[in-house]
């Protein structure tokens, strides 16, 4: 066989230059919030014993196996051991049969209320976050991939609209910082890409685990906007969009962030 070496060389150069263009000029790579934090913070996350988030994981494990007085049921009696829940957290936020969008914490509350006959937990309460962290922890290392289909298309569009909407006294939208000013300094902190692959994560500023909704509320307060309520339709839609936006990133829960 006779190869046209000139043509081959030309193709080779073309492919290499395309790869470089993709990697350095377009900069579409997703970077986890882990890489925006200081080495001292990264070190805390790397070690499972140093990481205070594991207190919540262990508490969640305790709650998972605890039988409720009312129905003599625990989470374990239906779902099996917590280690069997691998990959479950990736499907959330999810559409219910009624057509509402709910996240994992709401699902835990629904499960407790309807199937176990026990009372629901307060939003942002320690027990609810402990169970949520436990379930996200089971899919640590797996990649975020959420499918957008006919059912959740409407919520996805709402989330996308909210992401690009200018809010508050400052007139800021999410994308102005987390897309356009990534890596720059916002007072003392570096602007990350705003992915939620580490949530619910241990936030050093409050010394406790915070959920996605609580973190977005805080972000909104910084932009001097009136935040929505936790578990509101808007935040669930935004969470859906942000999960879709970070598809391909690995789950890091319980992550340690500033």
């Amino acid at each position: 066989m006779i190869y046209n070496t000139n043509l081959l060389n030309f193709f080779f150069v073309c492919i290499i230059s395309l790869i470089f263009l993709k990697k350095y000029c377009l900069a579409e790579d997703l970077i986890s919030g882990y890489h925006f934090s200081e080495p001292s913070t990264q070190k805390i996350q790397d070690d499972d014993f140093l990481n205070p988030g594991f207190i919540w994981v262990e508490n969640g494990e305790f709650l998972w196996n605890k039988k409720e007085q009312t129905s003599q049921l625990s989470c374990k009696s239906c779902h099996g051991a917590s280690s069997e829940m691998t990959g479950v957290a990736l499907k959330y936020p999810k559409i219910t049969k009624k057509g509402d969008l709910i996240n994992l914490e709401q699902q835990i509350n629904i499960c407790r209320n309807e199937n176990m006959g026990a009372g629901t937990y307060e939003p942002e309460s320690k027990n609810l976050l402990a169970l949520s962290v436990l379930l996200y922890y089971q899919s640590r290392g797996l990649k975020q991939d959420i499918k957008i289909n006919e059912k959740n298309k409407e919520y996805f569009n709402l989330g996308k609209k909210l992401y690009f909407k200018k809010i508050g006294q400052m007139g800021l939208s999410c994308n102005q910082c987390h897309d356009e000013r990534v890596g720059q300094n916002l007072r003392a902190e570096k602007v990350s890409q705003g992915h939620i692959n580490g949530f619910p994560s241990y936030l050093l500023r409050w010394s406790k685990i915070a959920s996605v909704h609580k973190r977005i509320q805080f972000c909104n307060e910084q932009a001097r906007a009136i935040p929505f309520k936790i578990f509101s339709k808007e935040y669930n839609a935004l969470q859906l969009y942000m999960t879709w936006r970070g598809r391909g990133l690995k789950i890091e829960t319980p992550a340690v962030r500033k």
Binding site: S37, E38, P39, S40, T41, K43, I44, A188, E189, L204, R205, S207, K258
Partner: protein, 166 residues
């Protein structure tokens, strides 16, 4: 004449009031909070004289030995709530050569004393790591009181991006 008198009196009064306000503001009196919305913390100003007194109380007139303490802290930390800190006392940990007490001080904290560790010869290695809080960027000081009366001192500067409340 009458007008001038009144004016000077007015000026004096303004001066007096402003000086009183200035003094009370600079002391960081908590009454200031009555006019503002409640902040998350009330300020207790760090007191350098008090810090000096604490250090002098520990050291006294003893001599400082060099290269006794190894201190590892990151140069910059993101949040003052969690400053990882590791120190090691270079000694043989025999019956006559071990640190009795080790003080950890963060000099610009409202309460500068952070922790006191007591060692025994059974420890084998006088190394401790823990996490402390810091109000602002300041020095962290380790003072080791050895069993035989020697004193080891080491301090390092830590940059804190966001201060903790303590």
């Amino acid at each position: 004449m009458e007008k001038l008198k009144r004016n000077t009196l007015k000026k004096l009064l303004v001066l007096l009031v402003s000086s009183i306000v200035k003094v009370s503001y600079s002391n960081g009196n908590p009454y200031r909070d009555r006019f503002q919305s409640y902040r998350q913390t009330f300020r207790i100003e760090p007191n350098p004289i008090e810090t000096e007194r604490i250090i002098n109380n520990i050291i006294g007139e003893k001599k400082i030995t060099k290269n006794l303490v190894d201190l590892q802290v990151p140069d910059t930390v993101e949040d003052g709530n969690v400053v990882p800190l590791t120190f090691k006392i270079n000694c043989s940990m025999k019956k006559d050569d071990y640190p009795k007490k080790v003080h950890v001080l963060a000099l610009d904290n409202p309460f500068p004393e952070v922790a006191i560790y007591e060692f025994f010869p059974e420890n084998g290695n006088a190394e401790v790591s823990f996490r402390c809080r810091m109000r602002t960027s300041s020095f962290i000081m380790i003072i080791a009181e050895m069993n035989d009366g020697r004193i080891g001192k080491e301090k390092k500067y830590v940059d804190v991006m966001l201060g903790a409340c303590s």
